[in-house]
Amino acid sequence: MQNIKHGETIVELTNVSFSYGDNIVLKDINLSVHKGDYLGVIGPNGGGKTTLLKLMLCLLKPNKGSIELMGVDASRFDDWPKIGYVPQKAVHFDVNFPATVMEVVLMGRYGKVGLLKRTGRADVEAAKVSLVKVGMESYSNRLIGDLSAGQQQRVFIARALASSPEILFLDEPTVGVDLKAQEGFYELLEKLNKSGITLILVSHDIDVVTNEVTELACINEELVYHGNPQKFIKDDYIEKLYGKGVKFILHGH
C-alpha cells in the first residue's frame, strides 16, 4: 500500500468487526480517513460497504473494535452538524412526499437549530447557499417528487451541505441517475472536495469511482485494499475480488 501525504485523521476505525447474528459482515477493519480525502469505498454486493458506512455514522454499533469521529468515540460523538449524509435515495425516499425543494434542504438545518427552536432567516439563507452550490437554486419551490432522479440527488446533497459539514458521506448516490446526470454529479463532488470537504463515497460502480477518488478502500468482509486507486487497477485487485474474466474499462482521465 502506498503512502499518501495526509492531513489530520477525522475518521478512524480500529479492529472493527460487525456481524448480524452468526453472519460475519466485517472483520478486523482498520481504516483512517484524513481531512480533505476523497475516499471511494467499493466492493462486491453483500461485501459490507454500506454496513461500514452505517458503522461510521453510528447507525450501527460494532461488535468489536472502536470508531472515532474527529477524535471522539463514535458512541459519544454529538457534533452532528459537521457530518453530512446523502442516503441511498431509491431506498429512503417517497416521491409522493409533499415537500418542496426548500423544505427538504431546510431539514439539513434542523439538527443545528436544535430541539424546540424554529428555523429562521439565517437557516433559509444557508439553504439557499447550498442550493446554489449544487446548481438547483431555481427549483426551490418545486415539489421534490416532480424532479428527475439526478436533480433529486443534487437536492439531497444540498440538504447535507446545509449544516456546513466537514465530512460528506454518500451511499450509492448515483443509483437510478442517468449517465449524463452522473457526469455532472461527479464534477460537483470533485468541486466540493476541492473546497475542503472530506468525501466518503460508497459505490458498486468501481469503474467510475476508481477514476474519481483520491483514495480507495475495497471491502469484502475484510479491507482488501486501501490506497491509491491507480495502483489498485495496475495490480489486478479486481480479479482477486470479483474473479477472473471481469472486464474493466478505463476512462480516459
Binding site: 455514522l57 453510528c58 447507525l59 454529538d78 452532528w80 452538524p81 457530518i83 449524509y85 442516503p87 429512503h92 425516499f93 417517497d94 409522493n96 412526499f97 409533499p98 415537500a99 418542496t100 423544505e103 427538504v104 431539514m107 439539513g108 434542523y110 439538527g111 437549530v113 430541539l115 424546540l116 424554529r118 428555523t119 419551490n141 415539489l143 440538504r159 449544516s163 458521506f169
Partner: protein, 266 residues
C-alpha cells in the same frame, strides 16, 4: 337556521368536534406519510377496551381510554422496534386482542347503562360538559407539542435515518408521536366513534395530498377539509337526524373523490 345553537348539547358537540377536526389531520399527515394509517384503527379498538374498563370501574371513559391507548401505543412501538414481530402483526394483535377484551368485559358486566352503541359510532349526546373540558385541555396539549416538535416530526417522517445522522433524537420523537396519536384518538371517540375515527385521521390528509402542495400547505388544506366536514356533518346530521360520525366521514370521502377526480382530469 341558528335555532340549532340553542341546544346546549349541539354547542358542546360542535366545540368538541372542532377541536378533534383540528387535531386529526395534524396527527394524520405523519401517520399517512409513514404508512402507519392502521395504527389509528388499532388504537381506536384499544380505546374501546379502555372505555369498557372505565365504565366498569366508574371512571371517566375518555380518561381510561387515553391510559389504555397510550400504554398500548408504547408497547406497539417497542414490538415494532424489536423486529421480533412484524409491524402489521403487532397492530393486528392489539386490534383484535383489545376488541376481545372489550367484548368480554361488556358481556361480564351484562351490558352497561350507557349505550355502548354511542361509543362505536359516535354521538353528540354522549359529549358531556366535562368531556369538552378534557378534550379542550388535551387537544391544546397535543397541538402545542406537534408545533414544538414539528420540524423533527417532518424530518423523521421523510427520512428517519438521515434525521438520526443529523442528530435528531429519533427514538424520543417516535415515542412522543405515538403517544400524541393515542391521546388524539381517545379524545375523538365520543364524537366520531371508534369505528370511524381512523377515517377522519386519514381521509382529509389523503384528499389534501392529491392537491400536490408543499408540506405546510398540505397540512393547512387537510385542516380546512377536516374542519368544514366536521361542522357541516354535525349540522346536517342534526337536521336530518343522522349519525354525526358517519355523516362526517361520508363528507370527507366526498371531498377526497373531488380532489382525486380533479387530479385525474387533465
Amino acid at each position: 337556521m341558528f335555532e340549532i345553537f340553542r341546544y346546549a348539547f349541539i354547542v358542546r358537540g360542535l366545540e368538541a368536534g372542532v377541536v378533534i377536526a383540528i387535531l386529526a389531520p395534524l396527527i394524520g399527515i405523519f401517520l399517512v406519510l409513514r404508512r402507519y394509517s392502521l395504527i389509528a384503527d388499532t388504537l381506536s379498538h384499544v380505546s374501546l377496551a379502555g372505555i369498557a374498563i372505565g365504565l366498569l370501574l366508574k371512571i371517566n371513559p375518555v380518561i381510561s381510554a387515553i391510559i389504555a391507548t397510550s400504554l398500548s401505543s408504547f408497547v406497539i412501538e417497542k414490538l415494532r422496534l424489536s423486529k421480533k414481530v412484524y409491524g402489521e402483526s403487532a397492530l393486528s394483535i392489539f386490534l383484535s386482542g383489545s376488541l376481545a377484551l372489550a367484548v368480554v368485559l361488556i358481556s361480564a358486566a351484562r351490558g352497561f347503562n350507557v349505550n355502548l352503541f354511542n361509543y362505536l359510532f359516535g354521538s353528540i349526546a354522549t359529549v358531556r360538559a366535562f368531556d369538552v373540558t378534557v378534550i379542550g385541555i388535551l387537544g391544546t396539549s397535543v397541538f402545542v407539542l406537534v408545533v414544538l416538535f414539528y420540524k423533527e416530526l417532518v424530518f423523521v417522517s421523510f427520512d428517519e435515518e438521515s434525521a438520526k445522522v443529523a442528530g435528531i433524537p429519533t427514538g424520543l420523537i417516535n415515542t412522543l408521536f405515538i403517544i400524541l396519536c393515542a391521546i388524539t384518538i381517545s379524545v375523538a371517540i365520543p364524537v366520531i366513534g371508534i369505528l370511524l375515527i381512523s377515517a377522519l385521521v386519514v381521509i382529509p390528509v389523503v384528499a389534501a395530498l392529491q392537491l400536490k402542495l408543499s408540506f405546510v400547505r398540505t397540512i393547512l388544506a387537510a385542516e380546512v377539509i377536516s374542519i368544514l366536514c366536521v361542522i357541516a356533518g354535525i349540522i346536517i346530521s342534526f337536521y336530518l337526524d343522522l349519525s354525526p360520525g358517519g355523516t362526517i366521514v361520508l363528507l370527507t370521502l366526498f371531498v377526497f373523490a373531488l380532489t382525486f377526480l380533479r387530479k385525474m382530469l387533465p
